[in-house]
């Protein structure tokens, strides 16, 4: 297991590697953050090349106004006995356009692969759009693979429940969005960064 101290956080707009190679018995723990006001195309290929390699890849995109954000992820299980987990959550407001293309490739001999991918999105406005396209290319037969993608709005019943307790509508939305992004932020210990994310969320709610 990777310790949380080995987690790498990259901010879009700064340099992000476009490929990683994860060798036998090693692990990679990467989180990519995209703040409002950033447009970016983020291609990223991860090759798992030796047994026991572990990958934990996460992403969060908070997009507003005319931001355009595209992730192109390729998770390449070249050998068996490796595990990869992907979680990408995004919130689109204004007339932002977000896209997530996530490919998992499991080579013919890569038996006992575990590969998981999730991409969840919240669209705050009529004008914002999200395109999510998971792709699985599995050439081995003894594998555990899953993917899930959702695009939705903030739940209005939850909002009314909170408002009926005196929480203003905007604040209710902020609470909902913070809880939505929490699984991605799990393990990030930089308090200032978490604070910055909460402020970015707040800016989307208004």
């Amino acid at each position: 297991m990777a310790s949380s101290s080995s987690k790498k956080v990259y901010l879009a707009g700064q340099e992000i590697p476009s490929s990683f190679v994860v060798e036998a018995g090693t692990s990679l723990d990467v989180t990519i953050l995209v703040f409002p006001g950033i447009s970016a195309r983020i291609p990223l290929t991860v090759d798992l090349t030796g047994p026991g390699a572990e990958v934990n890849l996460k992403g969060l995109y908070l997009s507003s106004a005319t931001d355009e954000v595209t992730f192109e992820i390729t998770m390449n299980h070249r050998v068996g006995g490796c595990t990869s987990r992907q979680l990408f959550n995004g919130i689109a407001s204004g007339s932002a356009k977000c896209a997530f293309f996530g490919k998992i490739i499991v080579a013919p001999d890569a038996q006992q692969t575990e590969a998981y991918q999730e991409n969840h999105n919240i669209v705050l406005t009529e004008e914002a759009s999200v395109n999510t396209k998971p792709q699985l290319e599995i050439y081995a037969d003894d594998v555990k693979c899953s993917h899930g993608a959702t695009v939705g709005k903030l739940n209005e019943d939850e909002q009314f429940y909170m408002r009926s307790r005196g929480i203003p509508e905007d604040e209710a939305k902020v609470l909902q969005m913070i809880s939505f992004v929490a699984p991605v932020l799990d393990g990030i210990e930089d308090e200032a960064l978490v604070q910055r994310i909460e402020e970015a969320i707040r800016s989307l709610a208004l």
Binding site: E156, E158, M162, R165, G166, I167, E169
Partner: protein
Amino acid sequence: MSEILLKISGLHAGIGDKEILKGIDLEIGRGEIHAIMGPNGAGKSTLSAILTGKPGYEVTAGTIEFMGRDLLEMKPEERAWAGIFLSFQYPIEIPGVTITNFMKTAINSKRKAEGLEPVKGSDFLKLMKEKMALVQMKPEFAKREVNVGFSGGEKKRNEIFQMAMLDPVLAILDETDSGLDVDALKIVADGVNALHTPEKSAIVITHYQKLLEYVRPDAVHVLKAGRIVADGGRELIDKIEKDGFEQF
């Protein structure tokens, strides 16, 4: 006659083109507990939705005054700040938001609206502890996500806990007794009774008389097909128990 807290006059309301409430008149005095009883589909939940400002419902005629203010002009959160509380028939689950965070945000939102500083951490925890004890919630309850994985009884106790935390002037209990076993019903009723003072009022909306054996109303109204068809005292409860709602 005590001070009028809530005054509903000629209220017509519904969802879209469908009229559900067809002319409601009701006055609740300060300190009074009123029961509103009626069969399924009478409009009981619509009335609580209108009182709390639930989106999607439309008032087509009539007025509602709460402590002299035009209630219908107020947002749901403003109604909460003014002292209205609804115990939901079906409490909503909010994944990812803990009870502590939920209640702290609610209390501080009201304080902010009143121009006050956020509540002190130690004062808040003390209040939480005291009110959790009132509905017999264990300490770990504070860390749980709001209503997520709660049993029916826990959800209703959580409603009464929130009511205790927010200390409303007018509590509306919408079918709070539905789905409760006798023990949970007793806890809920004891909580409601403990919170009731001469300054506060309550509307108990119910299909059955169960809860009314513990929470004793000052007045009883029968709501049927969107109208109040009978008003009286506790003797109405016995009459309904004996002969049902068909007699009205």
